[in-house]
């Protein structure tokens, strides 16, 4: 069954969507969209390091993304710059360093486009295993830390006061973010992973009225976007990663439409 490249792509996409759904909700709630983008940008450096030292790409991306996240936390404490400036600084400098390092690796032919936009159709069985096993672990951890994570998302001080240990939980959450980027970078690419995190969750926000509902709708939206995007990329012969994101956007627009109609009905 997994011998067909399209089936592999489909299952890879579904696996990623299952994880980006709930994580994306937290990204929106905690206003971390730009943070997710920064981690994604820094992953280019992770990929180039993986090639330079011949180590596993996902592992190296996880390492670099986590390092960037830790540097960010450190800078937030020691400098007076606002977070968005720090994020911009880290995002673009790590992207730049990644591209500079690529220049030194002239003996390897890089597919920059593949890195930026991913190549879901090139997913092999091993990648599929990484996505599903890694994804399952991320979801399991997310389930375990749900209560303290949600509490510290709603109010940090309340969570701290009532023993939810938000500082530790935030660190775990950051690593989960780095992990999902690490396992999905090969498929959706650096520029589009943030879209996978944000767009289905944004769509879900339009429709949900409680947190758990928003997470479920976000997952369903992501799964739908993958199926619709991949089949239409097959139909219209378009790039598959961008097609998935476009499908997600279409779902988002539909969800806006839904709200307006709903409000009219209420009147």
């Amino acid at each position: 069954m997994f011998d067909d490249f399209f089936i592999r792509a489909l299952f890879a996409g579904l696996g990623v969507a299952l994880v980006t759904g709930p994580l994306g909700c937290f990204v929106i709630w905690r206003r971390l969209s730009f943070f997710a983008g920064t981690l994604a940008h820094s992953s280019l450096l992770g990929v180039t390091l993986a090639f330079s030292f011949d180590i596993n790409i996902s592992f190296s991306v996880l390492l670099i993304s986590s390092a960037v996240a830790l540097i960010l936390l450190r800078l937030q404490k020691t400098t007076k710059l606002p977070s968005d400036a720090l994020l911009g600084l880290l995002a673009h400098s790590s992207l730049a360093i990644g591209l500079v390092v690529i220049g030194f690796l002239s003996y390897i032919r890089f597919d920059i486009m593949g890195l930026l936009f991913g190549d879901i159709l090139a997913v092999n069985k091993k990648d599929l295993l990484v996505i599903w096993v890694g994804g399952a672990i991320i979801l399991l951890i997310l389930k375990l830390i749900w209560k303290p994570l949600f509490a510290s998302t709603v109010n940090y001080e309340l969570a701290e006061a009532e023993g939810m240990k938000p500082e530790k939980i935030n660190a775990v959450f950051t690593i989960l973010m780095a992990a999902i980027i690490a396992i999905s970078i090969k498929m959706v690419g650096i520029l589009l992973i943030t879209g996978m995190l944000i767009i289905p969750a944004a769509m879900a926000r339009n429709l949900a009225n409680n947190p758990k509902q928003m997470i479920i709708i976000s997952i369903i939206g992501g799964l739908l976007a993958v199926v619709l995007g991949l089949y239409s990329s097959l139909e219209f012969n378009t790039a598959s990663g961008p097609s998935i994101i476009t499908a997600a956007l279409v779902l988002f627009i539909l969800s806006m439409f839904n709200i307006r109609k709903f409000k009219q009905l209420k009147k």
Partner: protein
């Protein structure tokens, strides 16, 4: 068992410095089971800061904090819910605790907002939200309640009823309460121990001793010291959440 076992939280000579400025300094206090300790003082005198020190929210502090319980209910002075969060009152009640449906209903009923259970948290009025905050803090039957101006924005009738409720809860649950309030009438009538803050502890003791302290008069003016005499009377009635008066049996 020693007396020590009744202590829930103990601050020894604590203080916080932020950007080279002391927010509050040299505060020592302890809250025991069944005791209501109140912090009073002008704006910016370090009341909320002291509460946060006791709660362990500030990490880099001077002095020592000893906590003897993890079951803590906190009503912060300020809390804002991000509009990106779709969250109902019932979800908020479950924020840090596992509660049954009945427990949620009971807590909300006590503060008079059970009809708002399925409402979006953002659509509540200031006073309603304050009642939900109190309900959430008491629903988990805490050992220690930290209430930072718990009745701000609550209507006049509700204010008295909520203070009655707070006192009732401290008696029923036997929990200790650290209260911050500007309402000197309430403070002086319902409190076991008062700390008067102004960046440091100006004076402390029972309400009766504090109102006689010259530093207290300096801080709050002469009229404040007459408060005790005004309010020293027995309650012959209680107030239900909607404000109607119920005669005590």
């Amino acid at each position: 068992m020693s007396l020590n076992n009744n202590i829930l939280v103990k601050l020894e000579n604590t203080g916080v410095m932020l950007d080279n400025k002391w927010l509050v300094k040299g505060v020592s206090l302890e809250v025991k089971k069944g005791q209501i300790v109140t912090l009073i003082g002008p704006n910016g005198s370090g009341k909320s800061t002291t509460a946060k020190i006791a709660l362990g929210i500030y990490k880099n502090i001077e002095g020592k904090v000893e906590k003897y319980t993890d079951k803590i209910g906190y009503v912060p002075q300020k809390i804002s819910i991000d509009w990106t969060l779709p969250i109902r009152v019932s979800d908020f009640m479950l924020l840090t605790e596992v509660l049954t449906n009945d427990e949620i209903n009971n807590a909300l009923k006590l503060t008079g907002v059970d009809h708002l259970k399925n409402n979006d948290l953002r659509n509540l009025s200031g006073g309603e939200f304050q009642r939900v905050l109190i309900a959430r803090a008491i629903s988990k039957k805490p050992d220690l309640l930290v209430l930072d101006e718990p009745v701000q924005g609550v209507d006049f009738k509700g204010e008295l009823a909520l203070y009655e409720l707070i006192k009732e809860i401290s008696e029923k649950l036997g929990c200790g309460i650290l209260l911050i309030s500007h309402d000197l009438h309430v403070v002086m009538s319902a409190t076991d121990h008062v700390l008067c803050l102004n960046g440091h502890v100006c004076c402390s003791g029972t309400p009766q001793t504090v109102v006689k302290d010259s530093k207290y008069k300096e801080l709050f003016g002469d009229r404040a010291s007459t408060i005790l005499s005004v309010y020293e009377h027995d309650h012959d009635h209680t107030h239900s959440p909607d404000g109607t008066i119920e005669t005590k049996k």
